[in-house]
């Protein structure tokens, strides 16, 4: 299977199964409409108005060479590969919901403005410790483990966060593991003391902000209705500075109220942030802010505009990283990970303040998806296995999709929320993801050829 597209003046061909990416000229791009289905003579006939016969022959020879080298029209044999057949997923990452409470209200909050459709509740240290124990005892031979403090707003329960980190540091030695702690925060409660602790102990920090002041404040406001932008910007900048502009992301959400989200990304870059992630809202269609099918052309236009500016700023020494444009063509994840997907419900689980285990943070609050408990060390094997098997080969739509080894089957929660089936991906999400991948590859092509 191949996928070809034209963006930013580059003609790009992806050989899906080998992972090979080629930048081609217009002739090759056109030939691939016919090759290898048609015979050479037929291809020449089809293109003879626009190209010389000699050149067409030459280009076809180059395509044949790529095929011979396994870089074009290659086969997908991974399903039978030992590395895939013998994989044994273990729990390696926790999303710890230390606070089912929040000090701000966001219109689009998937967590029902912080309480996840339940009582406003903070995790106590006992549940925190049991969660760490659960992770250590269920992680098999994996050395690198991850614990993300999530909410609601984790800084509302910071003493417990500190105690859990202390406990984790003590236990990781005992088990011969390496726990990477991270936290997500809306920034309102950041101060010198907690920033210092976070910077000494957390491998990554996700700082929530949506972009331009009016865009952020329309969606993200305090309990009293006041926008958060003015309060958080100086704090987030201080945090980014203190971390040497590494190992953090400012992370925003865009909705149909700001389909020109590229302006928000650039606004964050203009503020001085170097690591930026702004993502489409995931919401049921009845919400006024939900992204609709008819919005996609505008969304795509702004991804392309952002890609153009991304390259331009790179050459102007004002470059920044945009999470979804970062694809490492040479040292990215192995194909086994790409097949397996995000790992929700198998490698990655979420734990609530009550100690309930869910497949991931997005399922929290839907009690049909309680998969176990850290209080009695249970894990529902049937549900665990069903999530472990939710890989690209078991998703019909993904099997025939060119993007399957980039997105790895998409988000199970989105699939469930829209289609009531974790095996059936959320279509609007797929379309945006494909556009992002094309932009990311076009950027690579432009930086490689123009650099």
């Amino acid at each position: 299977m191949i996928h070809k597209f034209n963006q930013g003046g580059k003609y790009i061909v992806i050989d899906v199964n080998s992972g090979s990416v080629h930048v081609v000229d217009q002739l090759v791009y056109r030939i691939l409409d016919y090759y290898p289905k048609l015979r050479v003579e037929e291809t020449i006939k089809a293109l003879s108005k626009d190209f010389k016969e000699k050149d067409i022959h030459e280009a076809i020879e180059e395509l044949k060479f790529l095929e011979k080298e396994g870089l074009l029209n290659s086969k997908d044999n991974y399903f039978q590969h030992d590395s895939f057949k013998n994989r044994r997923p273990v729990v390696k990452a926790l999303c710890l919901h230390v606070s089912h409470d929040c000090n701000i209200r966001c219109r689009y909050c998937f967590a029902s403005q912080g309480d996840f459709k339940g009582n406003r509740l903070l995790m106590d240290i006992d549940v925190g410790r049991r969660s760490i124990d659960f992770l250590l005892n269920n992680s098999g031979n994996r050395r690198n483990l991850e614990v993300d403090f999530f909410g609601g707003e984790p800084l509302m329960n910071f003493e417990v966060v500190k105690a859990i980190v202390e406990y984790g540091r003590e236990k990781e030695k005992e088990y011969g593991k390496n726990i990477r702690f991270t936290t997500t925060t809306n920034g309102v409660l950041l101060n010198d003391e907690n920033m210092d602790f976070i910077n000494k102990n957390m491998d990554n920090v996700v700082l929530s902000i949506d972009g331009r002041e009016e865009i952020n404040d329309y969606m993200r406001y305090t309990v009293n209705g006041k926008g958060t932008y003015e309060t958080i910007v100086p704090k987030l900048l201080k945090m980014a500075e203190a971390r040497g502009h590494q190992n953090y992301y400012v992370r925003g959400t865009f909705t149909r109220h700001n389909l020109d989200f590229s302006e928000d990304v650039l606004h964050l870059a203009d503020l001085g942030f170097k690591n930026i992630s702004v993502e489409p809202v995931v919401a049921e269609p009845h919400h006024d802010y939900a992204i609709r099918e008819e919005d996609l052309p505008k969304v795509f236009k702004h991804y392309e505009a952002l890609a153009d500016e991304y390259v331009k700023r790179h050459y102007d020494n004002k470059g920044f990283s945009f999470f979804h444009f970062m694809i490492d063509l040479h040292q990215g994840p192995c194909v086994i990970k790409r097949i397996s997907g995000c790992g929700a419900g198998s490698e990655y689980i979420a734990v609530t303040p009550e100690g309930d285990i869910y497949p991931c943070h997005q399922f929290v609050g839907n009690t049909d998806f309680i998969i176990g408990s850290v209080l009695d060390n249970t894990l529902n094997k049937e549900m665990y296995d069903s999530f472990s098997e939710a890989h690209v080969y078991n998703k019909e739509k993904c099997n025939s999709c060119w993007a399957k080894f980039y997105c790895s089957g998409g988000c199970h929660a989105n699939a469930y929320n829209f289609n009531k089936d974790i095996m059936e991906p959320y279509d609007i999400g797929c379309q945006m993801e494909k556009k992002r991948i094309e932009c990311a590859l076009a950027i690579q092509a432009r930086l490689s050829e123009e650099g």
Binding site: V23, K337, R338
Partner: protein, 46 residues
């Protein structure tokens, strides 16, 4: 080649041989928390 420039070779094929160690970062954990992109993760077993 005159008409084709290869940006990256058979990276997926090569990665299968020693793949699946699972030491890498969990994709959703890294920054996004909503929209899954796995290809922008790093391999820990280079």
């Amino acid at each position: 080649m005159k008409h084709i420039k290869t940006l990256s070779g058979a990276t997926l094929v090569n990665s299968a041989a020693k793949g699946g160690c699972g030491e890498c970062q969990t994709s959703c954990q890294s920054a996004c928390k909503t929209s899954c992109t796995v290809a922008n993760q790093e391999c820990e077993n280079k």
